[in-house]
Structure formats: C-alpha cells, structure tokens
Symmetry: C2
Subunit: 453 residues, 2 copies
C-alpha cells in the first residue's frame, strides 16, 4: 500500500504531450497499470471500457502530435459515477433495481467530455441512489477503511491513480467527504454549475462536480464540460477562464468551525490551526466566531444544515422512491425504505418551511461576502473511519450543500498517515474566485509550487 | 361535428357519484363512446389503456359507493402528454427516435394521479420533443384545423370529451395555445408548480400543467398531484386549498396587448373589448398601456419574450439534441436539425445574457402586482388556423412562459364559430389567487354559474 497516493495529473503532463515527450496513450497505460495492480483490492469500478479507452487514447495521441488536440483534456482518463448515464455502459445507480440498466444515451457532461476528447474509462461505484448505503469500494490508503460516499469509486479511483478525474455528485457530503478521505481534490460547484441532464441527481441542492488529481485537473475538467453544455437549465453555469484561474491570496478568510468541529481530535485541530497560522503568516487575516458577530450567526445557523437538508432531500425523493418501492421494496435497502416512510409523513407545507429556512440561512451566509473572500474549514471530522458499512460523518460537507456555494476540498492535512482535506467555501456563482484562493492557499500551506497547478 | 364541445367535467359529476346516482364507470363509458365515435378523426391518442381504465373505474366506483374515495378525482379519466412517462405505456416523445420507448416507470405526476385514483386512459399526441413539428391530431371543432401544440392530443381529447383532464407541458405556448384553439381550460402553473420528474421537459421555463373540461377540473387535478408529489425540487409547488379557490372579483386587471395584438382580427378585438366592457361594468378597473406607464414598460419588454425564449430554449436543448443527432440525424425533423445548428453557435455568455434579460423582464412585470391583481389578454391571435403543418402563433402565450407566472386560458370567446381563449396571467407563486379571479371573470363574462365551478 503506497503511503503517498499515485495521483495522475493529466494537466501536468500536457506540456510533455505538446512537446512530443509523452502521449495520452502512454499516460493511459500508467493508469491501466495501477488498475491492473490495485483494482482487485480497491473496487472502484462497476464497469470499465478499456479497449474503447485505448482506441480513444490513440486518437488523442495523434491529435496532440499534430497539434490539433480537441481541448486541454484531450485524452484524459475519466471515471464516471454510476448515477450518470453513458451510452456505452450500464448505469446501475448503486441499486439492484438498476443493475445492468442501459439508458442508451450519454449524459450532458459525458457528451461534453467526449467532445473534448476525454476517455470515459469506466463507471465508478456509488452508494445506493447516491445516498447512504455503500458499495464495495475500499479506501486506497487503507483497505480496511471507507473511501467515503456517495462518490466512492470516483474518489478512490483518483487516489489510486486509475484516472485523472472522476465525475461525482453531492447533495449532502458526497464529493467533499470522499475527497477528504481519499486525499484527492474535490469540487462541488455553485448551485447549477454543471449540467445534470442524464443523471440520477434531481434534488434541489444537488450538484454534479469533479474529483481529480490536482486543482488544475479539477478546473479544466469542469470548465470544458460547461463550455460545451453549460450548467443546469436556468443557471449561468460555472463562470471563469478556460484554464485554472491564477492563484490569488485572499485578504480575509472566515474560519468556519461548522457543527463538525466538536468531533475533531486534538491533533487534527492542532494541524488545522497550524494551517491557519501559515496563512496568517502569509498576511491573510482569519476571522472566526469569536471575533465576528456575523460569523457567529452563520455558525449558529449552519447547525441546522443537516436536519434541513435531510428533510428537503426526503420530500424531494418521495418520487421516485415510491415507484421503486412499489415495484420491489425488497430491492431497496432497509435504510431507504425507512427513509421513504419518514418522508411520506411530510406534507407540502413542511417542505415549504424547510425551503424558507434554507433561503434564510443562505442570505445570512451571503452577507459574509461583504467582509471576507471565502471561508475555510476542515473537509471531514477526521480521516476515513475503519469499516465499509458507513461512508462517514458529513458534518463538514453539508453546509456547502445547503448553502449552494462552491466548495473545494484540498488534500493538505493528514492524521495518523491518512489524508484529511482542508475545505474552502466561496460565494454563490463565484467559483473562479474560489479556485484563485485555493491556488494561493495550497502554495502557502505546502510551501511549494504544485504539480499541475 | 358538434358546434359545442363535449367537455366532460368529472368534478361536476362527483356529487352524483357521492349520491349514488352516477358512477365513475358510467362516466368513463361516456368518454369511451366519444372515443369510439371520434378518435378515428381526431387522433388525440398515441396509445390507450382502456381495459386497465375500465378496471380502475370499477374500483373507483366501489370506493365512491362505500364513501371511501381516494380523492375528488378518484375515477377521473386522464390523458397524459406523450413526453410524460407511464409504467404501462410507451413514451414516444413525438419522435421516431423514441417510438415504442418504455421507461418502465411512472412520472411523479402520473404516480400521484394514480394514488388519487385517477384513470390513466392513454398517452396523447405531442409535437416532436414538445417543440414545433406537429403530430397527426386534428382540431375537434374543425378537422381541417390544427389543435395547436405542443400539448395537441391533451387539448383535443378534452375538447372531444375523451377525458376530463389532460396533462400538458409549456415552455413557449404549449398549453395556452392548444387550450385556446380547442376551447378547453388550460393552466400553466408558476415556475416549478408541478413536479416534472420523469418527463422530457427539462428547460428552465418549462412547466407541467393541466388542460381540462372546467376550471374546477383543472384545479383539482393539479392540486391532487401537488399534494402527493409537490412541485419541482426547490420550488414550493402550487399553493392553495384542496378544492377550487372561491371566485373573487379582482379590483384591478391589467389589459396586456402583448406582441400578438397586431395580428388579431377586428371582430375578435371587438369581442375581447366586449369582454373588458363586461368586466368594467361589474366594477373591475381595467388599466392598459395607454393609461399606465408601468404597463407600457412591460408591454415593451415582453416584445422580447419570443426571441429571448427561443435563445434560452436553444441553449438548454443542445443536450440532448446533440446525442439524438449523433445517433441518427435523419430521425430529427429538418426544423430540429436547423435549431440544433443555430444553438451550437451560441456560447455560454450568450445564454447568460438571455438569463439576465429574462430576470430583468420578470422584475419589471412583478412590479405590476403593486397596483393590480392580475393581467388579462387573449390566449391566441385568433381561432385555430386551417392546416396541420403548423401549430399556430404563440405570441400571446409566450410572455407567461418567459415570466414564469401562472397562466390560465378560459374558453370564453369565439370567432367564426371557433373557440378563442381569454388568458389571465397572475403573479409568481400566486396561483390560487389567479384561480379565484378566473372564477369571477368566468361568471361575469358568461353571466351564469359554471358547471363544476
């Protein structure tokens, strides 16, 4: 088991492709070697399309050689969370009700990725309907531990060097949490940032996002999708430059404890406070609940993030859970059946109250933008817990989901040799600014220029 | 050809069901007689499920007899636009790419209707992907004329007495226009009013709505759906009482000419002005562009409704039209292929400018609520035109779509013996108030209490 993950940044390799010193086909073979060596243990994939990926990599190689590459991700190997439809592979949604189910069509994001030349290497394991009940995937850093969920296979696959980027989705903590547990870069965009067409991913605060080997791989994958297919209907989609926004140190960051802080170990708290100290030493002001009333107010409000999210998601998933349950309730997990039962007790007015509460919390949070450039927090309460039956605590990830703001998890910390992410939260539809901050934070914290960054 | 349509209000019949003088099964048989007599000419259906509907009607009959009906629409025969999925019938989306395609699942609305006891009698003809290219349906009032589109079969089926209510969708004029042409009641809710889950109906200003035999049938169908499955995720859904809101005369209505007025014939203008005169005589103040600057400003802005809508829909339908085109472009209409080609020339920033313009027009319109209770306009520039190759002019319907506000078409006018609707537009998420106004307007204009109203 490697102590350092084998993240394969495709973007870092593109200068070598352009110079003719490396090729997308050779890059793919490195990924396939890792898959050959470790997939039997990691179990990141539901299905792969390796022969098709090799052909596509050869085509990309020819285009790079002739300087007519389709995009900066032409030839990038990508894993697609198995709630997102692909024309050539089944979309099992992590449920026995959909095992082998073929929509026959590519999702909006997959279609855009193929147009950009990316290789769709396989479908990655998701929890049941991207909710709580895990699939078989194990954490590449320690096979006895969960990779987190629900974007389990995309996170583990990036961490194990199987592909450079994975598509994920998040409605509670499904990108930020597995990114933290697997030590990869994870990005949940602003509400509506990436077109969700053709994905089992219909809840109002759910987003499609990207988990990848570097900040540059994350951004490039996301922006290439959005340039071709936009965000969700009615949303501007991620707005920003066609390459990673230039690093720009923030003037002031808000340190958000979130409801998760109480569960963090003393050593991890100390490590995170060390990160804040480095940022302060670099001239970034850090404000927190103790020295800013508006932060204290947000901290109090986001304590409701999990229960409000739970009720919103519950109401919004009555359909299709009701039709699934009617078809064959025995193929839903007991947790899912209980969930449906609880949700069926809700009335439209209960849901409307939750929407109103969410809007009020969003408005409170938005006021922080007057005095700060973004927020910083942990991505999880600690490293991935031992065991595969739970995907872990989402306390740190759920506020960003409820708020609808962009969230990034950067693999900057560790505890007991296992990765833990530092989370940056931005303001709605200001995703590029968050990436600029993230670039600066990463450089300050690691004290080095970052590969692919 | 009957000069008066055979609209079958189910709600008007429910007192007789409750009293044991009539039954849902007998009601269904009346509908089936009309289908038997006229479907060969009207061609409203893509597919029917008559044996299942008869069984369901018997079950509903037993429940009414035992006073344990599931809802006020228990036993109501319903037609479902063929972009909305049904577990027991195919969903052809008006496209040869989907002929016979079975999703295998009920949409959110169909599931809710079945829970309420409604009979899903069949799938009704839609234009290609609910856009412009018509199916075979003819107008029951004159078989040489279009029923309008895209909810062609639902409108024609209600008009011909085949069912009491039809589900439709509208993103340009697809409920209001066919309702006007076929002389039925049509309702496009506020943005997000009815859950669109499981429907090919993904655009940002698209809504699922109801076309029916009376105002009461419209409301009851819509509210029974929303009580069980809500609106779109993130929206409150239609808010209001569990039976038709009580009629309440507005204090002041805005007369909106809309871009369509110039195309209206002198006799129809006179008829509409007669309607306004009756409303004035009943004490309702009518203001228009000539005597209110804020109305003139809205009139100027909604001249952009059609081009802005066209661009928004164009960008939002790049996916999935691109995957359809890639699969088999010969199965897309030439119009659809041209449309895709135009849309592919758009950039994300073009789309963002359209969204910003739409938001600005919505804000202008919303200000009218300060001084008025709603707006009144025609539903179409005239009766259904002769010919089946075009679904007619959407000028009057598109403002309500762009604005995201509730729109109702009431079959109160005629020209040359053919129906024309009067359209009422409300304010966003104030759907029940619009129904209250509509009840009053209908009584004043017809001078009578209305069956089922």
């Amino acid at each position: 088991m490697p102590s350092k993950p084998l993240r394969h940044s495709f973007i870092a390799a593109t200068p070598a492709f352009a110079a003719g010193r490396d090729t997308p086909r050779a890059f793919l073979e490195l990924c396939l070697e890792q898959i050959e060596a470790r997939e039997k243990d990691v179990l990141a994939f539901v299905e792969t399309a390796i022969p098709a990926a090799r052909s596509a990599a050869d085509a990309a190689t020819a285009r790079w050689r002739e300087n007519r590459q389709l995009s900066s991700i032409d030839g990038m190997p990508i894993g697609v969370k198995d709630v997102i439809e692909t024309a050539d592979m089944a979309t099992g949604k992590g449920s026995p009700l959909f095992t082998g189910w073929q929509s026959g069509w590519d999702s909006a994001s997959v279609k855009a990725l193929r147009e950009a030349g990316a290789l769709i290497l396989g479908k990655t394991v998701t929890t049941e309907f991207a909710a709580s009940v895990p699939g078989p995937t194990r954490n590449p850093h320690d096979l006895t531990r969960t990779p987190g969920g629900s974007s389990s296979g995309s996170a583990a696959g990036v961490a194990a060097g199987f592909f450079s980027a994975g598509l994920g989705t998040q409605v509670v903590g499904s990108i930020v949490r597995p990114s933290s547990f697997c030590g990869v870069y994870g990005y949940k965009p602003s509400l509506g940032g990436i077109n969700r067409g053709g994905s089992h991913d219909y809840m109002s605060q759910s987003c499609q996002g990207v988990l990848a080997a570097s900040l540059a791989d994350v951004w490039q994958t996301a922006i290439e999708i959005v340039a071709r297919t936009g965000g969700d209907p009615g949303y501007p989609g991620i707005v920003g430059p066609m390459t990673l926004p230039e690093a720009k140190a923030p003037r002031r960051l808000v340190f958000l404890e979130t409801p998760g802080w109480g569960a963090v170990s003393a050593p991890l708290k100390a490590a995170f406070e060390g990160t804040l100290a480095r940022l302060r030493a670099a001239g970034i002001e850090i404000v927190g609940r103790a020295n800013a009333a508006e932060v204290a107010e947000v901290e109090a409000a986001i304590c409701e993030a999990l229960p409000v999210t739970r009720d919103i998601n519950g109401w919004e998933s009555i359909w299709p859970l009701n039709i699934y349950s009617e078809r064959d309730a025995s193929k839903l997990s007991p947790q899912m059946r209980d969930r449906l039962k609880e949700s069926l007790a809700m009335r439209p007015d209960d849901y409307r109250r939750c929407l109103a509460r969410r809007a009020a919390i969003r408005a409170l949070y938005a006021r922080l933008a007057e005095g700060a450039d973004g927020c910083i927090a942990l991505s999880a309460t600690g490293p991935a817990p031992v065991g595969l039956l739970s995907t872990g605590d989402p306390s740190f990830a759920v506020p960003g989901s409820l708020l609808g703001v962009p969230a990034l998890s950067l693999p900057l910390l560790s505890e007991g040799g296992l990765p833990v992410g530092v989370q940056l939260l931005g303001f709605e539809q200001q995703d590029a600014a968050l990436f600029a901050i993230a670039g600066a934070v990463e450089r300050i914290v690691t004290g080095e220029a970052v590969a692919g960054g």
